[in-house]
Symmetry: C2
Subunit: 109 residues, 2 copies
DNA sequence: TAGCTTGTTCGATGTTTCACGAACATCGAA
DNA sequence: TTCGATGTTCGTGAAACATCGAACAAGCTA
């Protein structure tokens, strides 16, 4: 299940919203669906989150009626050394996915 | 014109054939269209080559009726440090784009 | 000039992706 | 049990994508 295919990952990262999602999750913290703020309908957000999960970029945990996502940093790093950093750096630089953010929730500053 | 956008690059690399093309070009050598061997019609190959060019991954040079492609390694490295290596390494590992190759042509060995 | 080679462009087609709203399933709370 | 919150799934439509074959344009070559 640790299947993470290159083209799948690349394709998943080919969409600004998903890159934004990855950026938001880049701090390694687990986030609840509800915290994720993106300019799309919830069904669409669900879709993007599913694409990320299917591509192996994230992992999902369900707790009661709520879901949580987390970036699979370690696995990613193991399989594609340096890729995540490169993507994140470039995304910062171009401000790709800036439209995605986290709702203030236990934001420690 | 040096515009190389992250999502464009990622999307371009989301197709096995194009990854194969990049692998073949990875040695930094310039190649003629005709040398490129891929299991698609020539119009399709033309299309993929255009996508790569538009994404900023390659550069094309025309000489008479013949065309040559070359990977923009340096620019890529400058804009996305480490990304190309990561992708190439993963592609080798998974053997993505193995269906693409170079016809023996002035192959010095 | 005629013909061959090389690559591009042009539909046509089928698949996939992105997006939305609506309906549905679940869980916890009142 | 009834309600509200949270996600998922479904049906749909528009746009993008991958492919192909055919037609076309441009250079060499005979």
């Amino acid at each position: 299940m640790g299947e993470i295919a290159l083209t799948g990952v690349m394709a998943a990262l080919g969409d600004p919203i998903r890159v934004g999602l990855v950026r938001v999750l880049a701090d390694g913290r687990e986030r609840g669906w509800g915290e994720l703020q993106a300019p799309v309908a919830k069904s669409t957000l669900s879709h993007h989150l599913r694409v990320l999960r299917d591509a192996g970029l994230t992992r999902t945990r369900q707790e009661g009626t709520r879901c949580f996502v987390i970036l699979r940093r370690q696995e990613l790093q193991a399989r594609f050394p340096g890729l995540l950093q490169a993507v994140l750096a470039a995304a910062e630089d171009e401000d790709v996915g800036h439209q995605v953010s986290v709702k203030d929730a236990a934001q420690p500053a």
